[in-house]
């Protein structure tokens, strides 16, 4: 029953964890994966790796690699860490990223939205002044010495499709 150490936190990812284990198994191969409905007539991806397809109800699914490219949909900059593991990262930025795949489907406003930290090229927290809703990001993987890995995002070189917004604080 693997318990992984990540930044001093104990992540309990068990064989029975049919929702989240595959996400981190994928990360250890440096793949960002989401669940895909296996129903031929549906085939929808889902950002939250639940046990059934919210669109057709099927219990059949498989992990599917996605591009790891997306756009910041919302963000927060945490200046007061209540978890000891994050005290040396303060201030750190958490982003809600809308992946390029399946954006606006099946209904306007739907999307595959993934939570992660926004890191820089040194795999440290990105300067919070550089975050902004609408900015383009790409997945990166933060590896531990023990071979565990956690997906994060960093700002990409791509131009944003529309306006970028950041509250000026």
């Amino acid at each position: 029953m693997p318990i992984y150490d990540y930044r001093g936190m104990a992540l309990n990812i068990t064989e029975l964890d049919s929702e989240y284990k595959g996400y981190f198994d994928g990360a250890m191969k440096h793949k960002l994966v989401v669940k895909k409905c296996s129903e031929m007539t549906c085939g929808m991806l889902r950002g939250e790796p639940g046990a059934a397809c919210p669109w057709c109800g099927s219990l059949n699914w498989e992990w599917q690699e996605v591009s790891g490219k997306g756009t910041i949909y919302s963000y927060q900059v945490i200046t007061h860490a209540i978890m000891p593991a994050f005290r040396d990262w303060v201030p750190y930025t958490v982003v809600l990223v809308e992946l390029d795949e399946q954006s606006g489907e099946p209904n306007p406003g739907n999307g595959l939205r993934i939570t992660a930290n926004l890191l820089n090229d040194d795999m440290e927290p990105e300067d919070p002044e550089n975050v902004g809703i609408g900015k383009r990001v790409e997945v990166v993987f933060l590896d531990t010495d023990e071979g565990f890995s956690v997906p994060h995002f960093r700002l990409s070189d791509e131009e944003p499709a529309g306006e970028v917004w950041r509250y000026p604080v």
């Binding site: 318990i3 990540y6 936190m9 104990a10 992540l11 309990n12 990812i13 068990t14 964890d17 929702e19 989240y20 996400y23 981190f24 889902r46 950002g47 939250e48 639940g50 919210p54 949909y73 919302s74 963000y75 927060q76 900059v77 945490i78 200046t79 007061h80 860490a81 209540i82 978890m83 000891p84 593991a85 994050f86 990262w89 201030p91 750190y92 958490v94 809600l96 209904n107 306007p108 406003g109 739907n110 999307g111 595959l112 939205r113 993934i114 939570t115 992660a116 930290n117 919070p128 809703i133 956690v150 917004w165 509250y167 604080v169």
Partner: protein, 406 residues
Amino acid sequence: MEGRLKDKYAIVGVGETEYSRASGRSTRALGVEAIRNAIYDAGLTPQDVDGMLSYHGGDSTPSTTMMHDLGMRLNFYMDCSGGGSSTEALVGLAIGAIEAGMCDTVAIFRAMNGYSQVRIGGTGARAAAPIGGSDLLKRTYGVASAVQNFAFTFTRHMMEYGVTGEDLAHIKVTHSKHASNNPKALMKQRVTVDDVVNSRWIVKPCAHLLDCCLETDNATCIIVTSAERAKDLRRPPAYIMAVQGRGVKPGGDFHYQYAPITRVAGHYIGPRLFELAGVTHDDIDVTGCYDAFTYTTLLQFEDYGFCEKGEGKEYVKSGITDLGGRRPNNTSGGHLCEGYTHGMNMVIENVRQIRGLVDDYCPNWENGEHSYDYAEGGCRQVPNVNITMNMGWAMPGVGSALIMRK
């Protein structure tokens, strides 16, 4: 269509302990005191109450212990897992239990050492506990506390509707004015917009320290019974016109996968509530709008329809929600200033407003004599309160609501 049970049940007793940050005693001792206070407030004895409901996050004491200390025997009890928005939901469940013939009178309590024992968000020993399940995609990224869990909704709302920190600060300013007239309030000092926006950041860009509620040690209790039983009790009943409990928006815990993430549960349960009560927003004299953070209050005003979506920032600055305004909000000071109770204190306050027996600094408030002078250290009774509304919040996706009348 109006509800079948409209006005058939009432809140007849309310009670609480001191709000403090050093209770120096157990949740059992706190809960027993609050239940006892509410039962005596109703003019009942513990033996007259045969139902009990509580809510907790693993931080309370069970009903089956509380009843022992008060010499009660229960025909019905449930200890439910839940925090904010449980109060209103349990009022509905109490009515259901009585309707089903399981009991006749229900005490609903919340007991918590919310500062000196179990704080919100998993600090202390809980911060070292192994992380599993859906927390793997949150705590692994340093998202643990309530405001961190809500912040994506708040930030996105700031972008879409142009809300500023100064706009939000007005909510704290208003509630602090109300708390300055509440001898029970943990934080009685009035604050300014500058005080709020100059307090230290907790989460940028949506929460300074003074945008956050006060973690508090306390217990609170309300007593629900039938209108028939309520008639000859000690206090004027607060009749329950309609209630909605823990309504959920699409996606539930994962609502941010669906649009719009700035929409909260009130959007879905508000219309049901008003229809069951047979009233409109114009009929509401006083609101109790959950203020875990200034932002929870603003979002709920919008989605329950007290203003248009995006107009919440104007609504909270207009004076409408101040004592002396058209529809005062959180007249006790709420979670931001009176103390954090997971919602019960805002229902208690509205019951007292309906009775005309708000416990302010007016010397003869117990006789219903109020000055209606809302200067600091004065009155907080709203004149001629007929109908009140509570809006409880658990998270953006989950809420409850309650309309009561004189």
